[in-house]
Amino acid sequence: MKHLSDIEIIESINRGNAADFALIVDRYKDKAFSLLRRMLKNEMDAEEVLQDSFLKAYKSLKNFRQDAKFSTWFYKIVYNSALTTIASKKRKIEHAMTSIDDEFEIGKYDDEIYSTAENARQYVLKLVDKLPLKNALVTILFYVDGLSLNEISQVMGTSLVNTKVLLHRSRNALRDLLLKHNYQEEML
C-alpha cells in the first residue's frame, strides 16, 4: 500500500473520509502514549488523555494550517492536554514544569538502578524516567518522536535555547553517572 503523507491523509479526512483518521491514530498512538505514560505516571490517565487528544485533533483538523508539520501540531495538543490533566489532579508534578533549573535528583536513584542494570545501555534507559519532567520530555520528544529542537520548543512553548539546554543537561547528567561507575571499559 502506498505510504501516504500526513497531509494527504488529512486532505482525505477533510473530504469526508472520517475512517482515514485511523491511519493518523495508528501512526502516532504508540509514541504519544509513551510520552503520556512518562508525563502522567499512570496508564489509565495516559489512555484517557491520548483519546482526548486525538478527538481534539480530529475536531480541529479543518483549522490545521498545512504549512506546519502535523506531528508538531499534534504533540502540542497532547502536551497541553497532559498539562491540563496534571493541573486538574493537582499533582506535585506541576511544580516540576515551571523552570529549566530543576535540580537533578537522579543521583538518589542511582544505587538502586545501578544494582539492577545489566549494562551501560540499560542503566541509561532506566535513568531517563528519573530525569526532571521537562528534561525527560525533551529527551523523549527528541529521541523517540524524532522532533527537532525547534519543533520541541514549539510543542512545549519554550525558547529554542532553553530546549537545547534541557537536552544537553539531561545528556550531561547521564554521562556523569556513566563515568562515575567506570563504564568506560564497556564503552571503548
Binding site: L55, V124, L188
Partner: protein, 177 residues
C-alpha cells in the same frame, strides 16, 4: 588550547559545529584524555537514548477512537451531494423546457387548424389533436431535448452506481470490532 566545554561536545555529537570547531575538538581528543572520556561517554548516552522503549497504546485503541470519530461525524457533518443536486436541477430545467415547447407547438397547430375550417365534428377535432401530438413528437427540437435528457439520465445512473459501489467498499473495509 581552548577548553572544550560540555556544550561544545553536545553540539559536536549533534553535528551542529562548523568545520573549524570540529578541527578543535579533533585536536583536543588527541592530547586530552579527559575530553576523550567525556565524549565517549556522551556518545554512549546518545546511542542508548536512541533505544528508549516505545510503550504501545492499549489494544483496540484505534477502533475505539474511530467509532467515536464516526459517531461525531454523523452528528456534525451532514454530507451534501452537489452532484445529485446538479443532475436534478438540469432535469427540472429540461422538463420545463419541453413543456414550454409543447405548449407553443400545440398553440400554433391549433391556429392552423382553425384557418382551414370552423365546422369540424368531434372526430375531426380528435384527429387534429392527434396530428398536433404527432407534430409535437416529430419536432426536431423536442427530439434533441429528449436525447439530451436521456444522456444525462444514463450518465447520472452510472455515477450513482459507482458512488454506491465505493460506499459499499468503504463499509466493507471499515473495522467491525
Amino acid at each position: 588550547m581552548k577548553k572544550i566545554s560540555d556544550e561544545f561536545l553536545n553540539d559536536y555529537i549533534d553535528n551542529q559545529l562548523d568545520s573549524n570547531s570540529i578541527i578543535e575538538v579533533a585536536e583536543a581528543l588527541k592530547v586530552d584524555s579527559n575530553v576523550l572520556n567525556r565524549l565517549t561517554a556522551l556518545k554512549k548516552v546518545d546511542s542508548s537514548l536512541h533505544d528508549i522503549e516505545v510503550i504501545p497504546a492499549p489494544e483496540g485503541f484505534t477502533n475505539r477512537i474511530i467509532k467515536l470519530v464516526i459517531a461525531q461525524s454523523k452528528i456534525i457533518i451532514p454530507r451534501v451531494s452537489y452532484f445529485f443536486i446538479s443532475v436534478v436541477s438540469v432535469l427540472v430545467v429540461g422538463v420545463l423546457l419541453v413543456s414550454a415547447v409543447a405548449f407553443v407547438t400545440a398553440e400554433k397547430s391549433q391556429k392552423q387548424a382553425d384557418k382551414i375550417s370552423f365546422l369540424k365534428d368531434g372526430t375531426q377535432y380528435l384527429n387534429e389533436i392527434m396530428s398536433s401530438f404527432h407534430l409535437f413528437l416529430s419536432n426536431d427540437n423536442i427530439l434533441k431535448i429528449g436525447l439530451f435528457l436521456t444522456i444525462i439520465l444514463l450518465i447520472s445512473g452510472y455515477f450513482f452506481l459507482e458512488s454506491h459501489k465505493n460506499f459499499r467498499n468503504k463499509l466493507n473495509k471499515f473495522p467491525t470490532t
